[in-house]
Subunit: 236 residues, 2 copies
């Protein structure tokens, strides 16, 4: 269950957890009296259909947004990282569910407050522009990429400063490596990539067999050949 704190007004700048404080500097909402909330892993922040009144900024952790079809099919539409803003609703209801993948710190703020501040407006616009770009790239993935390309793109997305787009120069060919921690289960990855859990599992096994990745624990993946993987994303 969610462990939610509502600090006294003006207290948001000094949360109990120093790490959260450090990370919340990434955004600027906390300085405007935003409520700070702490969630555990796999907590729901809001459900599709819930009344939408506020905006959320992820300060720490990972959150996914997903939509469900009546028959149970699920599509994860966004995977959010610290600094991302979510919970915007065109109408009065949330159009997707927000669920944490890890423990998470979230700042909550009223849209009206943002509208009053040109600085926050600018920040919001910049954030939405970046998210829109990610959504466009994800549309390409879902609409036009093969299963292998989807998984390769997903893994590259987890490499900081690469985001599945950039490719290392010729200097670090073949034997460059990178360790990454998976916060998503195979089912969540499948629902993000528009695949089944079996297909994700098979593709990952195949990458392992080909020596492109190495796996000890299911949630820890070592990318043995980042460059090779990058070339499998369909972008190059």
């Amino acid at each position: 269950m969610a462990y939610i704190t509502y600090p006294a007004a003006g207290d948001a700048k000094t949360p109990a957890n120093p790490a959260a404080n450090q990370l919340s500097l990434r955004g600027s909402f906390a300085e405007f009296g935003a409520k700070a909330q702490v969630f555990g892993a796999h907590d729901v922040i809001f459900y599709e259909g819930d009344p939408a009144k506020r905006l959320y900024e992820l300060a720490q952790g990972t959150v996914m947004l997903f939509k469900l079809l009546p028959d149970g099919r699920r599509q994860v539409v966004e995977v959010l990282r610290p600094g991302d803003i979510f919970g915007l609703a065109n109408q009065n209801e949330h159009e997707c569910t927000a669920e944490t993948l890890t423990g998470a710190h979230v700042h909550e703020i009223d849209l009206k407050q943002i509208e009053g501040s040109p600085d926050l407006q600018r920040k919001l616009t910049k954030c939405l522009m970046a998210q829109m770009q990610v959504l466009h790239e994800h549309a390409v993935l879902l609409g036009r990429k093969s299963a292998v390309e989807r998984v390769a793109s997903f893994l590259m997305y987890l490499v900081p400063e690469r985001g599945g787009v950039g490719c290392p120069g010729p200097s670090d060919e073949e034997n460059d490596g990178y360790d990454l921690h998976l916060t998503m289960t195979r089912q969540e990855i499948a629902d993000y990539l528009g695949l089944t859990i079996e297909t994700v599992s098979r593709v990952v096994s195949d990458l392992k067999r080909r020596g492109i990745i190495r796996i000890d624990r299911a949630d820890r993946i070592h990318l043995t050949k980042v460059c090779r993987l990058c070339q499998m994303t369909g972008i190059h």
Copy 2:
């Protein structure tokens, strides 16, 4: 080719075409000295990779945004309608190509000008929120819907005030009808829905055979049973 006009400053409020003038009232950029541009059908407004300096507001017509993979695969990521804003770039380059589907009137404005106006900021935020919601729905379509559900959703999207979401009440079951004009070719529809042209053609033929739609010219479709079609979108 594009027929581009750059009216003298302050002239944007009075374009030659009265229809354009009427429609431009939908937005508010024209009042802030935005450049007005007129494009023909199938003109490129900007290419993926072009330097991005300005923002565009569609005043009249239809525009699509698409991305290409190096091997030629294409994904149409958005289909824009009057009032929509596009051309936002996180970095300094456009991340997708903008091409008109019909003749179109476009207002061009500097992001800096918007940042100076709280009213425009609000409008921009509202517009981005709405577009993001459409992108989320489209991710569900691309990631989780069957070919029939995709085509049904697409057709419903073209019914004003429905947008593939709402369904008419039980009063207008079966024999409600709606005429719509397709501004996209089968190939463009396929690239929007993440299908091949053949699959789109087959699904459309099948809907015709089942009496759900009627087609005389390839670009004019009469929806014979809007309600039935709505039930085929996967949403109900």
